[in-house]
């Protein structure tokens, strides 16, 4: 099992129940993380969009994760 830490913002903070949530899974990529998250937190599927950022950059689904990465959930942004 790989032990990641997920930062959650905006509505995802409410869905995951915290600003920083420990997350264990066997998967190693952003795509696998997304699938696991959707399974454990079905409300995420209903969002208009959900990007995953790794080390302060928007990441694509094939990006490999390291347990030391800073991983964050980016629901639809609404700054300005």
């Amino acid at each position: 099992m790989n032990k990641y830490t997920i930062k959650a913002f905006g509505v995802t903070k409410d869905i995951l129940g915290g600003k920083e949530v420990p997350f264990e899974m066997t998967g190693k990529t952003v795509g696998e993380l997304r699938a696991e998250l959707n399974g454990r937190y079905p409300k995420l599927v209903g969002l208009k969009s959900l990007y995953i950022a790794v080390n302060n950059n928007y990441a694509d689904e094939t990006k490999e994760l390291s347990v030391t990465d800073e991983i964050a959930l980016i629901p639809p942004v609404s700054g300005g």
Binding site: F9, G10, G46, A53, P75, V77, S78, G79
Partner: protein
Amino acid sequence: MIKITEKAIDVQKVIDTATSLGAGAVNVFVGTVRNNANGKNVVWLEYEAYETMAVAEIKKIIDEASHRWPLLGWAVSHRIGTLKPGEVSVVVAVSSPHRKESFEACQYIIDTLKEKAPIWKKEVFEDGEEWISARPIPMTVSN
């Protein structure tokens, strides 16, 4: 200067930071909190940012703007925390030799910031609250 702050934004300070002696134009966008959304009264807004990434994304936007237009100076300040209607939420200021490019660059920066910077707002109404754009289908209220 890129700043994410919980304190009230000093608009003049943002303008001064962007100003350059070689510039013939300083263009400023000031975003303010509206007192209504979808026909309901907004009591206050809660802004939240993923600060390190927001600064990094805004820097990318500024770099792209500097590549497209001859900017001589720039500054962006975004407020987070609790904001009441009428308060300033964001200020973008750019300076350039002539006005046309200052308008274009300023609009590009605020438009792209709204699309890409990881910043969120929650509208708090008299009878509930809602993160903006979070729902799959935007809420509509018929009058």
